[in-house]
């Protein structure tokens, strides 16, 4: 490889830009700049590649594919609804993994002058990791897009099939390294794709975002390995950066959700992940009408709104904001309590509410809002359950035990807008629903909120 020195130095600069980009993305003030820095770095690295004097045939095909891919990427990223953004990220991640896998396959076909053992090892690794990231991401996309169930899918003997496939991947990987033949790589590719599917299928509910983050880290590793295969330092650095930061991010997400990472991963094998919700209980609850809820809210002094995943599903962010505005007009103190994992991913709810023009200063984070609940008259919980479940504090056996929650049970009254008595993702009963100070309003969050807003206007 005879990359000119200026190009190597430029690539070093690009690697630094990527590091600065990740650094900037970690802080709210600089996050947007971070995106720009990363994008500039990527653009520079791509453009200079054409001027480094490396052999580049098929130039027309390459340019055409870059243009088509860029248009597809930009248009779909522009058009996607903010609620559907997590699955969009999953999809982009998947195609990146697929690209890395394909590169390794092409390099395998192309390999000529007796490559080293390390070359074969990294080629095989890239094929495996890239394929797993690709098919796994596609399954998470299908789950989040609700094309297939979001619940864990446990196949009969799924655990053993998964283990069997994993062993087969390992066997063919070693075989492919010792005796590099194309048909072995093809089998390895198919087995890895199957493994990715089997790996993600039993993961459900709240664990899906953690798995997306993990697959993101995996794609990073695949890219790093492809950098080794191609002897390209920039790919190696960028891939490794994403692999490492993605791994740490996955661990932090798991921690924020009170889910040990091992439970997510190995729960995937045993099928005991969070989300195996049983049927609702038959115990009596106090349900109410939109009019009653409007009266409770309308004559309170201080109201805290707790938006959850159900709000996002019902696309009711704007209606909730309308309600908050009405209450504020009546001189009522209104805040939103945002649990770190409200929505589908950490930070997702902030994005959704910001999109609905909710003023930034009304969004209160958990640590900030928790001391305020005891002095609050009414807490309105819209489509959230696990994040307000006191069992996380008290019940040692609960799967969410230890997860920090919003202390809504310390408020005067609690109103839940829920679709049904079905438990949340964690699949555990919420005692708070049966508390005498709790009122339930059943129905789609958007419809319920619209009715409450109408009743409030009529007060």
């Amino acid at each position: 490889m005879s990359t000119p020195t200026w190009a190597q130095l430029t690539n070093l600069g690009v690697a630094v830009l990527f590091i600065l980009s990740l650094k900037a993305l970690s802080s709210p003030k600089t996050a947007r700049l971070g995106t720009l820095v990363g994008a500039v770095g990527a653009a520079v690295a791509t453009i200079i590649l054409f001027f480094t004097g490396i052999e580049l045939d098929n130039l027309a095909v390459i340019i055409a594919m870059i243009i088509i891919g860029s248009v597809i990427g930009a248009v779909s990223a522009r058009r996607v609804k903010m609620t559907a953004m997590p699955q969009m990220v999953a999809l982009f991640n998947g195609v990146g993994g697929g690209a890395a896998g394909l590169i390794a396959v092409v390099e395998f076909l192309h390999a000529k002058d007796d490559p080293t053992l390390l070359f074969w090892i990294f080629t095989v690794l890239t094929v495996i990791i890239g394929s797993v990231a690709f098919s796994g991401s596609i399954v998470t996309y299908l789950k989040l897009q609700e094309i297939m169930t979001t619940r864990p899918v446990v196949l009969p003997a799924g655990k053993w099939v998964t283990i069997l496939v994993a062993v087969a991947v390992a066997v063919f990987a070693i075989w492919g390294i010792i005796d590099p033949q194309f048909w072995i790589i093809l089998i390895l590719l198919v087995l890895s794709l199957v493994f990715g599917v089997l790996f993600v299928l039993p993961v459900g509910g709240a664990d899906v975002p953690i798995v997306i983050s993990l697959l993101n880290a995996l794609t990073g590793l695949a890219v790093a390995a492809s950098g080794y295969v191609l002897n390209n330092v920039l790919l190696l650095i960028a891939g490794t950066l994403v692999g490492a930061s993605g791994t740490l991010l996955t661990m932090m997400m798991a921690k924020a959700m009170g889910r040990p990472l091992t439970a997510t991963l190995f729960g995937a094998f045993s099928g005991t992940t969070a989300g195996s919700a049983g049927p609702g209980s038959d115990r009596p609850v106090r349900s109410s009408s939109p009019q009653d809820v409007a009266i409770m809210l309308g004559y309170a002094d201080k109201v805290i709104l707790v938006p959850g995943y159900g709000l996002a599903v019902a696309q009711a962010q704007s209606t909730l904001r309308e309600l908050a505005d009405l209450l504020a007009e009546r001189g009522i103190d209104v805040d939103y309590a945002i649990h770190p994992v409200a929505g589908r991913m950490p930070g997702h709810m902030n994005v959704l509410l910001a999109e609905a023009n909710v003023p930034y200063e009304q969004l209160k984070e958990m640590d900030e809002i928790n001391p305020e609940f005891p002095s609050t008259d009414v807490v309105l919980v819209v489509g959230a359950n696990d994040v307000v479940n006191p069992a996380a504090r008290t019940d040692q056996s609960a799967p969410i035990h230890g997860m920090p929650i919003l202390d809504v049970d310390t408020a005067g009254q609690v109103v839940f807008l829920k679709r049904s008595m079905r438990p949340g993702f964690a699949g555990i009963e919420n005692e708070l629903l049966f508390d005498p100070k709790t009122t339930l309003l059943f129905g789609d969050a958007k419809e319920s909120l619209t009715k409450v807003v109408a009743s409030l206007k009529a007060l």
Partner: protein, 100 residues
């Protein structure tokens, strides 16, 4: 470049990767993941390199597909990240108005 040099770069990059995101707040987990996702879209240049060197139709087809997927990952990743973060920014300005 020899294997040991690449290994050195690999190991050091792991530490840098861990270090740069170690202080991120939960609010930014999703945008950060999305930004990292965009960065590994740089796999695009790997696709360009293999396609540029492709000799057979099969290599060309697979390579071209890799370029296509890489470009989707790279461009889409950055655009979606920017859209997420865009949501935060103008609101801060209105928040200031509200306080005044």
């Amino acid at each position: 470049m020899d294997g040991v040099t690449l290994l050195t770069i690999f190991i050091l990059s792991i530490f840098v990767g861990f270090e740069v995101v170690s202080k991120v707040s939960a609010v930014l987990h999703t945008p950060l993941m999305s930004g990292a996702n965009a960065i590994h879209g740089i796999v695009l240049i790997g696709g360009i390199i293999v396609t540029g060197a492709a000799d057979t139709p099969l290599e060309l087809i697979l390579g071209a597909l890799a370029v296509l997927l890489g470009a989707i990952n790279l461009v889409g990743g950055f655009v979606v990240t920017d859209r997420m973060l865009e949501m935060f920014k103008p609101k801060k300005a209105t928040a200031k108005d509200g306080e005044a």
